[in-house]
Amino acid sequence: MQFHRQVLPNGLEILGETNPSALSVAVGFFVKTGSRDEVAGESGVSHFLEHMLFKGTEKRSAFDVNRDFDRIGADNNAFTSEENTVYHATVLPEYLPDVVDVLADMLRPALRQDDFDTEKGVIQDEIVRYEVQPAWSTYDHSRKVYFQSHPLGQSILGTKESIDALTRDQMLDYFKRRYVAPNILAVAAGKFEWDGFVRLIEKQCANWPSGPVGRVGRVPAVGTATISAIHRPKVMQEYVMLWNAAPAADSPLRYAAHLLASIVGDYVGSRLYWALVDPGHAESADMGYYEYDAAGVFVTSFSGSPEASDENLKRVRTVLAEVQQKGVLPAELELARTKLASREVRASERTFRRMLGLGRDWTYLGQYRTLDDELAAIDSVTIETVNELLQKHPLNDFTIVGLGPAEKLQLV
């Protein structure tokens, strides 16, 4: 495997990892923009714009875009997060020129008014589709409660009202501001020839406008240390989430954070598993570590019978308090390390996952990292590193939000 990088004069960066034994090549355009970069009055525009990129360009209709991916058997899609909008496709190696042709073309959308109007209906349905899922709703609400006015508290999908009010001109303005060449990475991983890829990108992207980019509000979030419940009598189970601060995406402590989340809340064999799921107290209980630009969070969640919520919340807090006071055991750390390393190795066998990793590492760290770099970093975490993490980002002052039939949540 070999790493390559080139920057075009307009600022667009091209990255690649060539692997001659791969069966496919995955290509992605990473636009460093998401819901946290939206200003007042444009909530949901990043994600809506992502949809609009599939609606055609000056030379392609919406159908042409989809047809040109399907014609070459591409496995393609896009996603929008708080900080990134990524358009990607995985294809057999011989279709690299075709896939770059359509992907790069998409990034210069026509944004036609009638497509904009039709797509609003689809976005509205997507919003409702998530709202009717209590597990997701809990995440969305609790994120807002935790982040408050911090930009990471801004909704990715927006609301029914914000989408209704959004105009095509606002979207065009956002596009011009955020989709400038220096804010975009073109990334490929798998079986392909580097020079050829650079030529394809140059041909289509060299004339994209340049411009200043940046991000405001790059500060850590502190949370609210509150407890609240959203009363939904028609929901069957109670869904509860606890948020607290964790290392940012570029912190050296991030590996320790991933390992800690695994020890405390992996889907099986973790402390929460043994305390809540194994005894049948809850349907699920886990902990995740989410890393962002200049901020990070641990999100601990559980779901189960509403009557058991207060008792389960107590169990969760007991687990977290014990970890905070006594740290973790060497044997637990070893198991978590093995699990995480095994997952990293397996993920690296997919060109799509390598491409995402490449783009992510470059976006957040400005570094190329091989699988072996990742494995070495996981290996280097010690009990002391975990203790340092717990000291800097203690498991306390949780922002706790429940959603379901319970009228309120109590600390018992």
Binding site: D125, V132, E283, L335, S342
Partner: protein, 408 residues
């Protein structure tokens, strides 16, 4: 060139393996003939409770020690019951494959099935059952299966409240004795391994396992009909099912091609004609699912209650007009998609192991990449249309979930 190995042991257990060079991972899957179709009707849910209990202590290890042992080998695992099969799957690094299989020999052959674990597992299963109410899409598709398939093929693995509440440890142990056995068991492995080591290792741990007689479930001759479930929801969920031909049928690839025209990729008919043109929904799709002797196409969509009738009608229109003609270029796209996914699936050892097990169960052999590519290549619009005329989508089972019923 694919390197596929197979061995059938005297007790009926089948080991099927594909060596994938250049990978550091390995994946395995045990499929046992113990899905929820075998649940006695008064014990619905017993198979999934049994699957969960099996990993709570086996051989010399109690529940915690067993989990720690698998974690220590970096095994990401899953277990559960489908309609026909109970499966135990795992993925790890190649070097940990054999030790992991040894632990699964304990799980399947020497489980503790501890009485003390029944209550927690039952409590968990009841909550799992309850959680369906909070997932409208899952609920409509579960109900669709129940209404479309004859008993017991439309069952959901979660069983019923009554069934779960009635379970005793003795009943579970006797279900284990009858159904967890080497006859019909398929162990599929994909990754980098040495075949003779793998075969000998499996032989040593499973060869002495004695088979027992199979008891096949009776499939009822009739199927229930669809209907509407009323629930105050901001989105009406729609499930539609119709019959197709199984993988063993000569028309299999034509049937897959037809579903592809409907739903493969974003230029497919359902996506283009229902979502893109009218903005009626966010999610829409059709999926082919096959058993040994029958297959069906399951469609899902969901949209605003006030436009749900239109959504249903436009979806049904696409299904029924498919037989009226297929364009060369739309079929070309489906073929490109099927061929690419066949090759790209090779990059995941877990997907590979799953495909080996499924081929062996459905056909008694493994389809090689080459064979599948040739079959896809040979599809023409005429062949697909001929198939659709012989087996036209129709006689739909329709299940909806939303504030108001819809008209068929």
């Amino acid at each position: 060139m694919q390197e596929i190995f197979q061995h059938t042991f005297d007790n009926g257990m089948v080991l099927i393996a594909e060596r994938v060079p250049h990978v550091r991972s390995a994946a395995f899957s045990f499929s046992l003939r113990c899905g929820c179709a075998y649940d006695p009707s008064e014990s619905l849910g017993i198979a999934s409770v049994l699957a969960e209990l099996l990993v709570r202590g086996a051989g010399e290890r109690d529940s915690r020690a067993l989990t720690a042992a698998l974690d220590g080998l970096g095994v990401d695992r899953s277990e559960g019951a489908g309609v026909w099969m109970m499966t135990f799957g795992g993925a790890t690094l190649s070097r940990n494959l054999l030790p992991a299989l040894a632990i699964y020999a304990d799980i399947l052959r020497r489980p503790h099935l501890p009485a003390s674990e029944l209550e927690p597992v039952r409590a968990h299963a009841l909550q799992d059952l309850e959680s369906i109410e909070d997932e409208p899409q899952a609920k409509v598709m579960i109900e669709l299966r129940r209404k479309h398939y004859p008993e017991p093929l439309g069952r959901d693995y979660r069983g019923s409240q009554d069934g779960l509440k009635s379970l005793t440890i003795n009943r579970i142990r006797s279900h284990y004795d009858r159904h967890v056995q080497p006859r019909g068991l398929i162990l599929a492995v994909a990754g980098d391994f040495a075949w003779s080591n793998l075969r000998d290792h499996v032989a040593e741990r499973f060869e002495t396992w004695q088979p027992v007689e199979f008891v096949e479930p009776t499939i009822s001759g009739t199927r229930p009909t669809g209907g509407a479930m009323i629930k105050e929801l901001d989105q009406t969920q729609i499930g539609i099912a119709y019959a197709s031909v199984p993988m063993s049928h000569p028309d299999f690839y034509a049937a897959r091609g037809a579903v592809g025209v409907l739903s493969e990729g974003m230029s497919s008919r359902l996506f283009t004609n229902v979502r893109e043109k009218y903005g009626l929904c966010y999610a829409i799709g059709a999926r082919y699912e096959t058993m040994r002797d029958r297959a069906n196409v399951m469609c899902y969509t969901g949209g605003k209650p006030e436009r749900a009738q239109e959504l249903l009608e436009r979806t049904l229109y696409e299904l029924t007009t498919l037989k009226d003609g297929i364009q060369e270029d739309e079929l070309q796209r489906v073929k490109a998609g099927l061929k690419a996914s066949l090759i790209m699936r090779q990059e995941s050892t877990a997907a590979r192991a799953g495909a080996l097990a499924s081929d062996w169960y459905l056909l008694g052999r493994v389809r090689l990449l080459d064979e599948m590519q040739r079959a896809v290549d040979s599809l023409t619009p005429q062949r697909v249309v001929d198939h659709l005329r012989a087996f036209p989508p129709g006689d739909f089972t329709i299940v909806t979930l939303g504030p108001e019923p819809l008209k068929d």
